[in-house]
Amino acid sequence: MNRYTLSRREFLAQLGLVTAGAMLTACAGPAAPGGPAQAPGEGAAVSLAGDREIAPGVLRSETLILENPTGRVVPADDFNRWRPGIQSASTGLQQLALDALWYIDPDAGIDGVWDNSLAAEKPIYNEDFTQVTVKLREGIYWSDGVEFTAEDVAYTVETLKATPGMNYNGQFNKYVASVEIPDRYTVVFNLTEPNSRFHGLFTVRWSACFIMPKHIFEKQSDIVAYTFNPPVSLGPYVLKDYDPQGDWYLWERREDWQRTTLARFGMPAPKYAMYIAAGPSDKKVMAQTAGELDVIHDIAPEGMITLARTNPTSKGWFKSFPWAHPDPTLPSVIYNNERPGLDNRDIRWALTLAIDIVRVAMASYRGAATISAIHVPPTGLYPGYYFDPIQDWLNNFTLDLGNGEQYKPYDPEAAQRIAEEARKSLGDMVPTDPAEIRKAIGYGWWKYDLEAAEKLMRKAGCTRNAAGKWVLPNGEVFKIALMAEGDTRPVMNRGAAMIVENWSEFGVDASLDVRDNATRARLTLLGEMDAEFGWTVETWGGHPDLFFFLESWHSSFYRPTGENAVGRNRMRWRHPELDRIIEAIQRLDFDDPKGIELGLEFIKLAVNEMPITPIMSYNVFSVCDERYWEGFPTAENPYTNPVANWANTKYMYVKIKPKA
């Protein structure tokens, strides 16, 4: 008879299980503060309606799950959005819990492009733009029951101004002389110098200066070290729970959501919102296919194609090819206009005509690019503001190829050619209607014409050596290293590689210079580059004002190669006419329609000089799954941007509805 209850084998097996369990349980970090003790989500109860709980008491059908593109947030418990380097911005914090004075939508907007959010009306400038008065909404409350007032706005500006190292410290020190509070709902900023765009600091495009809760921060002895945990919310949601590893954040709709600014548009439909670190592109595809991720922030074009083919509820910005949402940014070839050869406008134009936009679009986005021949992105409302009005001018624009030969470089059919090429692999998914193609893939681009490019190079005094390579007038072989991103944005890397190939075929000694982001940022700011494939043009998207990026293109901000560029003039381009345009825009009111006229003048100047070669918008493959929710923003219903880390996406919450 066996003396033991368990055999040796059984004992060892159970010991192994217990040990493994104990070891893995020991991995458990400290429980997140602020939330009630809960049981795990996996395997949790299934409701009577057959619904799944993703956390105790949190039904999947009541939850919108979105990708946080930051990934894992380290440290997970830091919500001080006003400190540089904060990683939790896109965890729902700036989308759902923080609020700003104004929002400008990168698309059409929920009720027009401009939204007075915490402000009751637009900024009121005095005549010489040295004073701004802001009227605030009444009846808006923080989630702890304290009313939002002018005290909060004044405190935010004065505190950030007085605290070195905090965001906006430099801007407020430069522009704000003093802040007055005439009454509980009015703030007056006295500026140190005329500034017609001061309100831009408080206007959300992707982000902006959000307002701090004075009653919380004023109690802290060190606001730089303060983690603002749990965050007191001014938005319609409060933080319910979060992962101590920073992989997910769960927000719950406030019971008093009516006392927030978003309530003007109705009740946010999701009772809960969860922002998760979704991992690389292939995992996002798996997660959305499994119904575990409603909104993908961005994936590789191949991932989008897979979802379009295999998951019928996955929807892109466009209902079919090219699916992606065009961000109001403009990936371009940014030349260092001070390098020999690249300081010559004819050579820059020759390089532009040596780029085959069809091959670049195919290489980078498999054709799903939205191209731009001009120096603003083809996104939001910009086609109406700038692209339509300038088509005639572009069609008639001529280049002097030398010896008096005039040449029209614009190719209005470029987008059609991209569509035809894409149709070879994607078939019927690619639209055939020219109007649809124009909306999705863009207008025209510059001709791929090596003969014209050759003439421009000759006109600039260049010759070819025995190997067929271009030689500059100073006798040096013309070399260009095109700096580009690596794995962080494969579409940019692949686009740059194709441009290098195009130039090599033309006889330029071109190479691809892939750098990590930190090195790339350092070198491009210093101008230690021949050219870079990146962007220096960003716009509001919905609003036509170009001052957003143009301000730092003014020659007063110019820094020579070797010194850190200030703002966006990494190409080191200066032009008296450009200064005149920028100064004229600066003297205008933000909404003055003359701004568009001046913007068109800028575009004509930039086309003529070609200091950077515009390529396309940065298309973001934001994919929304309509399995649980519907009514996401699309090109047909562009009430806001679906790109999940933008603070503007708060408007999505009041437009989506549970799937019937």
Binding site: A55, V74, G200, G279, K283, R522
Partner: protein, 336 residues
């Protein structure tokens, strides 16, 4: 005893201290040789994030961040301050997650890495060595030959590919395992059997991927050692005396072949402190590997130093412990 302490123990402890001192010094110097500057990174990030920043504001911001991050003063002053903090057990604040202390970040990531890598290393080591010894001794066994072929076939495949294939097969096509993380979103981290089971399920795929390749390495090494040992006189003599084969294998062959494998195991365990970067990235597993990746990408000097320091201390300590216990395994050392 006195002889043991003076001739064996003291030199090894002195060597241990010297290795750590040099390691820490190199760890301090190397990130600073990088042309990338964490302050400049923050500044450029801010400039690229939206609104315009004036030149004066940028200069002020640079100065403020340099001061805040403790990067002001000469490198020598920073070095002395670094040792001062280190001896007080303070690794300083992380620059990319400022002002969170590096120690706090390490403490959060470490248990996950330990929880996965220690079982992976131990299981691989045990299974690989046993199978390797059997393969080396029973060369004609059909079953072990299949294991040998599989091991040789899998071992050269880059880990990244193996991990992705396992992920695609067992999490996507045949979805029996979760495809990401150590637990699903919404799960509260807590000490409970239910949570342990969830973590176990999530850890299975990364664990298997590590074991699959780990076993191959130990297998090949042990098989090679065994093949050499079976021709030694004492093995031949044991066989001639008619001892059972299993006894020859366990008492004569494995015991002698184990010594270099024990050294390898100690070094592997020491390296655990730096995590398994590719595994953690592919499987979305929290731990030291992910933290290292983030630190390098963000040029976070202090965090890189903290992680490297742990790794140096881990390996040096493992070697020291090995040196101290080696006489237990190898009688020749005891006699010396």
């Amino acid at each position: 005893m006195r002889k043991f302490v003076l001739n064996y123990l003291v030199p090894r402890i002195a060597q241990y201290v010297l290795v750590i001192f040099l390691g820490v010094t190199l760890t301090f110097i190397i990130p600073r040789l990088s042309p990338n500057d964490p302050v400049e990174r923050q500044v450029s990030q801010l400039m690229m994030s939206g609104s315009h920043v004036s030149p004066e504001a940028i200069i002020a911001m640079r100065e403020a961040l340099t001061e805040m991050y403790g990067l002001s003063g000469s490198v020598w002053e920073q070095y002395l301050a670094f040792w001062g903090r280190l001896l007080r057990g303070d690794l300083g604040p992380s620059l990319s997650s400022f002002p969170t202390p590096v120690i706090q970040l390490l403490a959060t990531a470490m248990p996950w890495t330990f929880g996965l890598l220690i079982p992976a290393v131990l299981i691989s080591w045990i299974v690989g060595n046993i199978l390797g010894a059997i393969a080396g001794y029973y060369e004609n066994n059909r079953a072990i030959q299949i294991v040998d072929i599989l091991s040789q076939a899998v071992r050269p495949i880059p880990y990244y590919i193996v991990a992705l294939v396992m992920l695609a097969v067992f999490a996507y096509w045949i979805p029996i395992f979760p495809f990401s993380g150590a637990y699903p979103p919404g799960t509260r981290v807590e000490l409970s059997w239910n949570f342990a089971w969830i973590v176990f399920r999530h850890s299975t795929l990364p664990l298997l991927s590590l074991i699959l390749l780990g076993v191959g390495g130990w297998f090949v090494g042990m098989k090679s050692l065994t093949s050499n040992i079976i021709s030694e006189d004492y093995v031949v003599y044991a066989e001639v005396t008619g001892l059972p084969k299993n006894r020859i294998l366990s008492q004569y062959i494995i015991r002698n072949a184990m010594l270099p494998q024990i050294t390898g195991l100690a070094l592997q365990l020491g390296l655990i402190f730096s995590g398994a970067l590719i595994m953690e990235v592919v499987f979305g597993y929290p731990g030291m590997g992910t933290l290292t990746f983030q630190a390098v990408m963000a040029n976070d000097y202090t965090l890189i130093m903290g992680i490297t320091l742990l790794s140096i201390v881990g390996v040096a300590t493992a070697v020291l412990i090995l040196d101290l216990i080696y006489p237990l395994f190898d009688p020749r050392v005891r006699h010396q």
